[in-house]
Subunit: 408 residues, 2 copies
């Protein structure tokens, strides 16, 4: 099928021909409306006029960055990887990704479940909303996704097939390489240069060679370590949540990369939210909940990852009978500790890049009072630096919390 950009009228004709969508709406009349919160893509909500509770989401990529326009070309192939990742994740553990009703790589289009009573997690956290099931759910999501797409679960040839399906997500991988690991740590036109100018903190960051050597190590690891299929952009804006459920959306950055990158992205975003509350709301109870949540997410991740592993005797890595049980156990514990270490390093990079790099986060760049914003930025850079300088020696989640608590 040849690619054609749909609009709210032509989308209805397109959907009428899709069996699974027809089964969902039956004979209802349907209508599409564009919803504006897609930065990269066009997103529509398609609703039944007969029963407004019946709705689906249609997402279509265009060959440019939607929020900027046709002057910023970006291959619509990113949707191919989003579709593949959603389908892969759904096949592993359906609870935490929206159900896919239809996908079409040629059309760069996906039709999925409408999450009608969920909010973007970042918005909720800014409003001090506690999500009590979150640590349990996201730790299951992350441990299952990472374990079951790694060489600890897959056979050698299955792993290579998986790499094959995601290896060419070139443009978005390069965006991360540039924006997360390079430009945000140096003078660059893409930075928030109004803030960089005459800013002693920015000057210090850009001249911090000790730190930047470590960032380069982590960038190299990001580019060359193919542990498992990653979401690739697992911040709290990619999570739809309510008190009961957690959904992970928008995996267009998906590729086979290092274990610690998704965990690090999540950790970074939780810490950035903590910083927001340190500086803006000073809501001590919520801050405490955030720290507990960070600890729970990381500890439960390790525990569940090891549990999945204990059910797998044979894989690309392990031949049954190669190692005695107690040695194998030690090996596994050390392996998971190394994932934690890397996560802390990646978290540091993800935090630091939000300060002066393109695409800040609401928690920090969104602070209107300039003094408070600079205070948040300083706190963010302080914790990020500790994370990056110490990640290789972190042994427990308590040490991570200590770094966060002691900052400021």
């Amino acid at each position: 099928m040849e690619y054609k950009q749909l609009d709210k009228t032509t989308i209805i004709d397109y959907l009428e021909n899709i069996q699974s969508v027809r089964e969902f709406f039956l004979s209802d009349t349907i209508e599409a409306d564009e919803i504006g919160d897609g930065n990269l893509n066009f997103v529509y909500i398609v609703k039944s006029l007969d029963d407004p509770s019946k709705a689906l989401i249609v997402k279509q990529a265009v060959p440019y960055l939607r929020c900027v326009g046709e002057d910023f070309p970006l291959g619509r192939e990113r949707m191919t990887y989003e579709i593949r990742a959603l389908e892969k994740f759904y096949s592993i553990f359906p609870n935490f990704v929206p159900r896919i009703y239809h996908s079409n790589e040629d059309m760069s289009l996906v039709v999925m479940e409408f999450l009608d009573n969920h909010v973007i997690m970042r918005k909720g956290l800014i409003q001090s909303v506690k999500y009590v099931n979150f640590s349990e759910q996201i730790s299951t999501y992350m441990s299952a996704m990472l374990f079951y797409t790694s060489s600890l679960a897959l056979g050698s040839s299955e792993k290579r097939t998986l790499i094959d399906r995601f290896n060419s997500n070139t443009e978005l991988c390069k965006l991360t390489e540039d924006l997360v690991f390079s430009f945000a740590f140096m003078e660059h036109e893409t930075n928030d240069n109004e803030n960089v100018k005459d800013n002693p903190h920015a000057k210090k960051l850009f001249a911090d060679m000790e730190l930047k050597e470590k960032v380069l190590d982590l960038k190299y690891k990001f580019m060359t370590q193919n542990d498992a299929l990653l979401h690739g952009d697992l911040h709290t804006g990619s999570i739809m949540i309510n008190e009961e459920e957690t959904y992970v959306i928008d995996p267009e950055f998906a590729f086979v990369g290092p274990f610690g990158f998704d965990i690090g992205a999540l950790l970074a975003n939780l810490v950035n939210n903590y910083i927001h509350h340190c500086v803006v709301t000073k809501d001590e109870e919520f801050k405490e909940w955030l720290l507990e949540t960070i600890k729970e997410v990381l500890d439960k991740f390790s525990e569940k990852f090891l549990n999945f592993w204990s059910e797998h005797k044979d894989s690309a890595l392990l031949v049954d009978g190669y190692m005695q049980a107690n040695s194998l156990n030690n090996y596994k514990i050390r392996f998971v500790k190394n994932i934690l270490k890397d996560s802390v390093g990646f978290a540091g990079c993800k935090m630091a890049r939000r300060v002066y790099g393109v695409a800040g986060v609401e928690e920090i760049r969104g602070i209107e009072d300039i003094t408070l914003r600079h205070e948040a930025e300083a706190l963010c850079l302080e914790i990020a630096r500790e994370f990056i300088m110490k990640y290789e020696t972190i042994e427990s989640t308590d040490e991570i919390l200590e770094i966060i608590r002691n900052a400021g």
Copy 2:
């Protein structure tokens, strides 16, 4: 073109239609003879009857392991990767791989330069032949091949394209995973079980959990670290040599893997040859030449790799201006030291696997006197263990030589 297995008659018809081959032989009458030293493939020498000095080599893969027969199926796609690797290596640095006259992935066939006055390096080394240009040449080959196919030279998207071309060399990668890193360290039907039986050294190796944990780390690195395009099987049997020239052949195991693996393979094979001379010939002068050669190969590799790097300001890893010159220099020196460390670890695995695993090397398994053979095996396992246990802390080539010298 549909695959068809050729023989010494049909090969002539095939070659008559290849322009580059016709240009080579002009109007000469040509004749093909099978030469027997291909373990995996059929190899023919095609000669001019008018001028016997004019000859080419034709290599064709069959969908099984030639030396065992049709009962041992092995995808002929391995030739696809051999062709791609030869062409890639030739395009980077033509001096050290045979010139390709024609290749055909569908036919799993390659026509290349006949190296008529070169011998397999392993044979020469066993006869104590010193190759004075070897360290200079192989260090240029390895540093150029590894550097120019890495993220230190390529752009992000070029690197992914390279991975794409080699990622599906699944069968041969799995052979290495199994044979080099797993089966040779445990009870397994593929091992040289006549020697394993009632052998205290084998028993000790298979029960050495401390060692096997490290081997598992190295296996994991082999499977998941995509630094650069590797030859994949760079032992002294894959090198054709004489006093002037060094050629690297048979890259059917090529894939994008860890920097240290090829260097480690070569190091392992030079040390195995040293062990042979310790036990069999006791040729002290040649042993000393081997040690000097090892040092030169490794030191020159580092030096040349850093030289190539100094000519490259922009790459997937580095954005020009990211780092101050002295810091960048420190980073690079540390980076290359890490390659050396990994090489030592991989060398240890490659050595140890030759003792009881399938496919021994002539230097050790070929020793007919059983007492001497066991002596060589013990020496090999001793050095291999030191390499594997200490690789992460090796700082210089002198430390490597010290391990080798002190053994026994």
